[in-house]
Symmetry: D2
Subunit: 282 residues, 4 copies
């Protein structure tokens, strides 16, 4: 089912105008969400619709986008999301749990994406990936500077041209130059409820601080480490009996759950980026 995604400066009559375009094309609205960011005067809308179109639905879609743009104020962005699985590449390191969860969902059609390849700076997960018939590329980072390593990764990505990169416990920091190639298209899972415990070893930080709750944050990656827009956060209670390694273990389930949920939202085109915040229509 096509999904119309609209973002523009707020003004009176937007819903009426946009719904009018769909109506002219005999579109039947099945689900509709709007949000007005009053503080910034910005309007967001996501509309699922179907229609009686036979033949070239693509052409109808293009006309709907063009006509919608025509009724909106300057600065509008309009997009028609195709209901085909996104093409993605997963980056991982040594930890298997998030990657394994994604491979399972992928195998059984639950990811709404096609994993074109898995790239890792370690070889250890190659066997797991191979079980699921997904290409695995080991790009060792040892003895290489970051630029050289990223160039090697980029060379693998080049022919694939993925729509999204998923960092499934990828333990390396990406350079701004690398991130800039995939603006708002890299999804990371960080093992704390950000902005608590930014950076390395968050569970050890959490243990030191004596928190009673730990969590995981799925977010879009920007230049600034762990500062990208947040997609999903989940937490679980812990107590004094949890040593740092127990926090690590307990956190795994919530990490893979948060990442899987974030990917569903992104891959179903439910996420708008509003500055450094996300507007999510679920």
């Amino acid at each position: 089912m096509p999904v119309l995604l609209v973002e523009c400066p707020d003004q009176r009559g937007l819903v009426h105008a946009i719904s009018g375009v769909l109506l002219r094309h005999d579109g039947n609205v099945v689900g509709n969400h709007e949000f007005v960011d009053a503080q910034n005067g910005r309007f967001y809308m996501r509309t699922e619709f179907d229609g009686p179109w036979t033949g070239d639905a693509h052409e109808v879609g293009e006309r709907i986008v063009a006509e919608t743009l025509a009724v909106l104020p300057a600065g509008a962005r309009v997009r028609l999301a195709r209901s085909v699985p996104k093409r993605i590449v997963v980056l991982a390191s040594r930890e298997h749990h998030c990657l394994g969860d994604l491979l399972l969902r992928h195998q059984f059609g639950g990811l709404n994406a096609r994993i074109e390849a898995v790239i890792s700076n370690h070889a250890v997960l190659g066997d797991l990936v191979g079980k699921f018939g997904v290409p695995f590329h080991h790009v060792p980072a040892e003895g290489m500077d970051r630029t050289a390593h990223e160039a090697a990764v980029a060379a693998l990505l080049e022919p694939i041209g993925p729509e999204f990169l998923v960092l499934a416990k990828y333990m390396r920091v990406l350079s701004p130059a690398f991130v800039a190639r995939y603006p708002s298209r890299i999804i990371n899972i960080h093992h704390s409820f950000l902005p608590a415990f930014i950076g390395a070893k968050p569970y050890h930080q959490a243990f030191q601080r004596g928190v009673k709750v730990i969590g995981a944050t799925a977010h879009l990656v920007t230049d600034d480490l762990d500062a990208g827009a947040i997609l999903v956060q989940h937490v679980i209670p812990v107590d004094h009996t949890h040593a740092a390694q127990d926090l690590v273990r307990a956190g795994r389930d919530v990490e893979q759950f948060a990442l899987a949920q974030a990917l569903r939202l992104v891959f179903e085109d439910r996420v708008f980026l509003a500055g450094n915040r996300t507007v999510i229509f679920d």
Copy 2:
């Protein structure tokens, strides 16, 4: 801010038609929610809007309702919610925690309702209610049959004419005849996550069953005990160290929280009744 509430059989063009009416009156949509119950072919919409009206806003409101009805299919219900506090009466028995929480919220303007009176079949909470300057009526039930007791309660309610009755741990079962006077206008808090542990002593049932989670359910009251449409449910984890009385104590916080949240939703006109289910726009 006025809120337009629409419910009707689903058909193409509803959003466009309704937003057109608001636009003709220079209404500015601030928040908008729709939901299509595909299974039953039913459309629900809640729109917050403001406009440039001076003088008789009430008359504009009536015209908006009338014109909206005119563009909708047969069987539509349209209502303009007034942004004035609801007038309510609270029924209680012996337990203070939900009632106390409501009185506190009421006192500080956080309830979006005016408590016209508290009626109880026990005298014990009279002192608490009196502290907050709310009229308290003790209607003992002992030695009376249900009909007589309800008649006494009804006689107190008659001159008040409340919009809603709130059962804040009111431990008596209301008769169908009594319930029928307040269709979908009685809100109860039940101390289990319904439909588990219907009826009396749910915490003792929960203890016997050895559950690891207990909860509370705020729901609309119908003839059938604990079977009305659910508004809010919250749960908390428990374990084997909780004796039945510990479950009772632990449950109190979640009861008052669930009830307060349900009242906010109802009193802000965010709830539609869809058969025995609720559609809630929050």
Copy 3:
């Protein structure tokens, strides 16, 4: 690390007596939990300890058990848990998510158990199981009565002699005779927060009832369907936008999480059965 598990009628001095036995053998208590079920006058204790034993630690263990029994009242049960992975068989049907999660944990040593085999009444999951090098047995149930089908399953189990059976969304009801072979040794995941929605199609029941929370329950299997002692329950919030099939999807994550957590507790010997309730030391 050895774990001493004690259960007996409560009386004064139990902790002192048991800790005395360990002390006599130079045992060092690393973790200790006790619980007194006051209602039933029953004492439960779980003690992790280590010691300076070289050579036949097994023999020391047997002496500790015997000496502990000697200081306890009649009716005591004492057991020393071996810290070796449990040997288990998983029964499944068509749904992959719980099974897949267990296979992943198993593969990476996170299950504290060895999956000796997977048995299913459908063939569809054979490919998944095969990826992980675990024996898969398809025992079709069609055209067979339950007795015959269970006999075929039992014939497969016979040579394996598993310590536990795990029902990972196994969609068949086991007969009392079959259950009796594995007393308190069959773990099931039921897709509702029991005792709500016992039996078939709990998500459809939940949808009809309009609940705002759904959940999953891992429990020990007894003769009475879905009535066994509860190990773990988890819930997630839902709303009116969730059709029955959305509840099914949303429930999967919580099912696999609850089952995995329950297995960890059982396989680490953290669970006592107290009538139809569980005492869990975590």
Copy 4:
């Protein structure tokens, strides 16, 4: 029921030795918790017990403490908690919700403490406190430096001599000198899940950061703002529709819940301070 609280360097035989002391006095252990902080080699134990003592139970208690100390290594701390309500003073500012909740619990015997007085730097809550018959002292801070203001507060506290101070949304930072008078005896509620959003206006920080979860932290107060040992943390999910003021409102319920729970733990003598972490036996 008396509660024995023990903290000492870990060594073999502690449980046996301590339980032996209780046994010698015919003490019957009703509940027992131990924890060994392996990293720091420290042992913590909390034992609820009763006995057949008539007459001077106090004297028996003193002998139990002395004899327990005698069997423990150097550096042990032993304390017998009296089961009488703690004497406390509550400090507040303008916000009523935490204070109101405490007053309600206090009124109905649910706080396990006696509120000797409420002190506020604003007058606005005096009416509320008065309803519950608790002395209210308004100590304005305007035009005063912190030292002078704290001296005025201290002068009020002096004759009361409270065991604990509770900061129920007290919006002023206490000086190290003031804090030093109540070592580990001041409990604060901070409106974020620490260590995220330390300091002022955490909800506004949370809004800017676009978090999907907000929370509250009850903690012991130390010199370092919001850095004291954490007692309780609770969170609730939020989304893009929550403006900063909505976060404030949503957070209130979780603040008062976290504070009430923390006070229960402290006032029931369930909390040990282990460096900057808490060991909590619940």
